[in-house]
Symmetry: C2
Subunit: 396 residues, 2 copies
């Protein structure tokens, strides 16, 4: 008998991945151009040229044993300094390099953070809809994932419901803004209100409640007026889980970091627990070459104007057709109300028009589909008639 939970996780493909595999098969049958695959959040825009230029420069110029050698387990100090300098300048905060821990991407940032702070039975709140792996990571770390749905009208936090859901066992709340799967951003007033609520609850229960700010989409916002607040500025007990995967199109390279807010209570204790959790999970250090790349690419992103055009075209066209969609300020997802109650049946029906849409149930909420619009703009244009046919079919 192997470990049953591990087996089940390995045996159950994700709904997203299965849809993607279906798409590949379908393309072989009806032709590449005739399938509209909106399943996977894999960046479609290449990294800016500075990424490969920096990597090549490092490979040519840095001494090999040092370039490919172990870094400190928490990450190279100069790299952490560069990150903090950039963050402090960009967001007017006062973070510290000695509270930054380099990781193999956002998933690692989250598992390490949860294994650092959770004791058996502690609760983590996820605001639905949420990235399905939150549950996997939390439960593996011995925690209990408590789901609090967002308001259906705008997918912002339902503060009354949240206030009722926080107990003495609440160890943290994950926020993910810009959000996967809705694309919604939590603006400054929301973060302030959340901070007040959590501070009140910390006093009420005499506990520490961490905001775990999952930020792979931080830079993916498309309008000048959309500001994604830096959470440590508003709330002391904040742990930022960052990844370079999405904004600079490096998802396969696994590079990111955890930042413990400088004002976090017992910040050093939390940081040490993070280092210990990373160690026990088998993360020796984040990939060295990609660490050394970071100082040169901070502030750079892939050409996001393509995602913006995709968003604008899809949002406008689909709402014109009659679809209901929460306006997405960022990330590269649209969250669309299914045209029948059962999102799985709706997504199944959409396949008849070669539209591959991810049903919402795995995100902790029924009745919607997710559209990942990090796709070739030509595919998006070709797909529009199919969306029209789909809604007309439901109006019959």
């Amino acid at each position: 008998m192997v470990n049953e939970k591990s087996f089940l996780l390995g045996n159950t493909g994700s709904a997203i991945r299965e849809l993607f595999e279906y798409g590949k098969k379908r393309k072989a049958i009806v032709g590449e151009d005739n399938v509209f695959d909106y399943s996977i959040g894999n960046p479609s825009i290449p990294s800016p040229s500075i990424v490969n230029e920096t990597l090549i420069k490092l490979l040519k110029e840095k001494e090999a044993t040092s370039l490919h050698g172990y870094t400190s387990a928490v990450g190279d100090l100069n790299v952490r300094r560069a990150i903090v300098e950039y963050i402090n300048k960009t967001y007017s905060v006062n973070e510290k390099p000695e509270l930054v821990y380099m990781t193999c991407g956002a998933a690692a940032s989250l598992t390490i953070t949860m294994n650092a702070i959770l004791n058996k039975g502690d609760e983590i709140i996820a605001l639905a809809p949420f990235f399905p792996e939150y549950r996997v990571f939390c439960e593996k770390a011995g925690g209990v994932l408590k789901v609090v749905p967002c308001r259906k009208e705008d997918f912002q936090i339902d503060f009354d419901l949240l206030a009722k859901s926080i107990t003495k066992n609440t160890k943290g709340i994950i926020i993910n803004s810009p959000n996967n799967p809705t694309g919604v951003v939590f603006k400054e007033d929301t973060i302030k209100k959340l901070a007040s609520l959590l501070e009140a609850k910390e006093k009420e229960f005499n506990t520490d409640i961490y905001i775990i700010s999952d930020e792979p989409y931080r830079e993916l916002v498309y309008d000048k007026e959309t500001i994604v607040p830096y959470v440590t500025k508003y709330y002391a007990n904040t742990i930022v889980c960052y990844s370079f995967s999405k904004s600079i199109s490096l998802p396969g390279e696994r590079i990111g970091y955890i930042l413990v807010g400088a004002n976090c209570k017992d910040a050093i204790t939390v940081y040490k627990a993070i280092a210990g959790a990373g160690r026990s999970l088998g993360f020796v250090c984040a990939p060295a070459l990609f660490q050394y790349m970071i100082p040169s690419i901070l502030g750079h992103t892939s050409d996001l104007s393509i995602y913006k055009k995709n968003r604008d075209l899809l949002y406008k066209t689909l709402t014109d057709y009659g679809y209901q969609i929460a306006f997405p300020d960022g990330a590269f997802y649209l969250w669309v109300k299914a045209l029948e109650d059962d999102a799985n049946k709706f997504a199944e029906h959409a396949k008849k028009f070669e539209l591959l849409l991810v049903p919402s149930d795995s995100f902790g909420m029924g009745g919607y589909v997710r559209i990942a619009y990090c796709q070739d703009p030509l595919m998006i244009e070709r797909s529009l008639p199919a969306f029209k046919k789909l809604i007309l079919d439901y109006k019959k």
Copy 2:
């Protein structure tokens, strides 16, 4: 309260790392050339040029979104095919690419394997002396690490003791050949005897007992007649945990794999549990660029002749001086009997001669020190008089 175990692991530096830090400070005081730091197993020989050439070629020629994009969670199929083709040809076995899972190095290979196979309370046997993190990884996965000392005369397996130590709760045994910290290799007759014993015990208890073969040092052997047997050939329930860190000097890049032996009972179930464990620990995929590099570098190593010279010089000189050392067929470590019972006191005393030797207690055995000879040959030559003074000091 953060998670106490995580905090303690993060708060307790490893003995090796602390000695290394001491060395850096000491060098600042007495001069770089006057400290003989044998603490860390960080390869001192650069990777062969094909490593950086391949990486640069990939960066220049492979399309960026595909190069840096997610690979399959289990690893790119072409990469796994290349690995298996190389293994099958080199070791005359019949392994399968669909049973290879790409990882972020040996530590990840081990944590993922243990989280895949262990249920709470299952026992893993480690043969002392052993790499200290085995205990950390095993206990984090819910297992119990049971220590079985090797024979003191040659640091080979004490089969009588091992036979008595296997129970119905034994889920696996870790072997690490060439060994850290002794450098000892388990030859074919040893692996055959181990296989027979485990098969008998599997029958006796009606259980599956896995050999977890931890192989970061597989290619680091220095004499033509030293063959490191490929374990799947001798024992069905074998899981190989491999890393490219040591043999090709890429420890910071975190790239390796798990191979489930094709004859392993319920191999597909074990493999799925591995995929699930990797998922729940936060390993999304192994770094993509380094995966794609692998087919070009299989069979290459760093210039190991330098390690061989280091070994030969140190082993001969120190035994001539009167030190007792198990002959090391491989890896880059010497395991030296301390000149007093307490290895910590001995290592402390050696510091007076600026010799930094790792006391053996953290490897699960008192009374020895580990010398990592993956060092500059000039440092090794300079250090010899210090070793002489140290032993003379004990003979006073």
